[in-house]
């Protein structure tokens, strides 16, 4: 199968590559099936490319790649909905926002991670109730915009 995204050249994929997010992401209910596309070789970023809406791709990352200790506790209903046992391999991404032309203003939404059961390849965007996690976590020091290569 193939998809022609607007950000990427044609992406070829197999049925096994598809990640299902049955509820979609908050505010984007029409996209339920996604591909995970690497940004670049070695980059900490990936794109969650919608299959239903080829123009739609979300920049995501794993906060641990930026040295953040990020192991939030999920509400019980998340494990239940995704069939997650403590030993189930799981992926967790946060969305990453970058205002146009301002890469050093990168922020991660630590309050609403996307959690994926790697066995069933099904996931959901989880809203954490813990106020310790902010929706706009700045990754880079505001005073040193040139320090943008900080991916550990």
């Amino acid at each position: 199968m193939k998809i022609q995204g607007t950000r990427f050249a044609t992406i070829e994929y197999e049925a096994d590559d598809i990640i299902a997010l049955p509820d979609g992401l908050v505010g984007f209910p029409r996209s339920r099936r996604f591909l995970i596309v690497n940004n670049k070789e070695g980059s900490p970023f990936r794109w969650l490319q919608s299959i239903e809406e080829p123009h739609l791709a979300f920049l995501v990352t794993e906060p641990s790649k930026f040295g953040l200790a990020y192991t939030p506790e999920f509400p019980d209903k998340v494990a239940e909905a995704l069939d997650l046992e403590p030993t189930t391999p799981a992926l967790m991404f946060t969305t990453a926002a970058i205002p146009p032309g301002l890469p050093h203003d990168l922020t991660l939404n630590l309050a609403a991670p996307i959690v994926i059961n790697a066995l069933t390849r099904t996931g959901m965007q989880v809203v954490l109730e813990d106020p310790a996690y902010t929706m706009r976590h700045r990754v880079f020091d505001e005073k040193s915009p040139q320090g943008a290569g900080a991916a550990a």
């Binding site: 950000r7 049955p22 509820d23 992401l25 908050v26 505010g27 984007f28 940004n39 670049k40 070695g42 980059s43 970023f45 739609l56 791709a57 979300f58 920049l59 995501v60 209903k77 239940e80 909905a81 969305t95 990453a96 926002a97 970058i98 205002p99 146009p100 032309g101 301002l102 890469p103 050093h104 990168l106 922020t107 939404n109 309050a111 609403a112 965007q125 809203v127 929706m135 706009r136 943008a148 290569g149 900080a150 991916a151």
Partner: protein
């Protein structure tokens, strides 16, 4: 917008599967109980709006702005 007056412990039903109960009213705060099927996401509106904004922000990133 439909406007209904309810007392404590009274509820409204939305469709066949969603019920919203008024649990407590204290000054300016109202506590609501919500029964809804698992596949219906329930969010505080301001939280929902913020997540939507961040999701949009992630969807609008220009590839050339992504740091290595």
């Amino acid at each position: 917008m439909l406007v209904l007056t309810r007392k404590i412990h009274q509820s409204i039903v939305i469709g066949d599967a969603i019920e919203v109960v008024v649990l407590e009213v204290r000054g300016e705060q109202v506590r609501l109980g919500i029964r809804a099927p698992k596949d219906v996401a329930v969010h505080r509106k301001e939280i929902y709006d913020q997540i939507l904004e961040e999701n949009k922000g992630a969807a609008e990133v220009r590839p050339e702005d992504v740091p290595d």
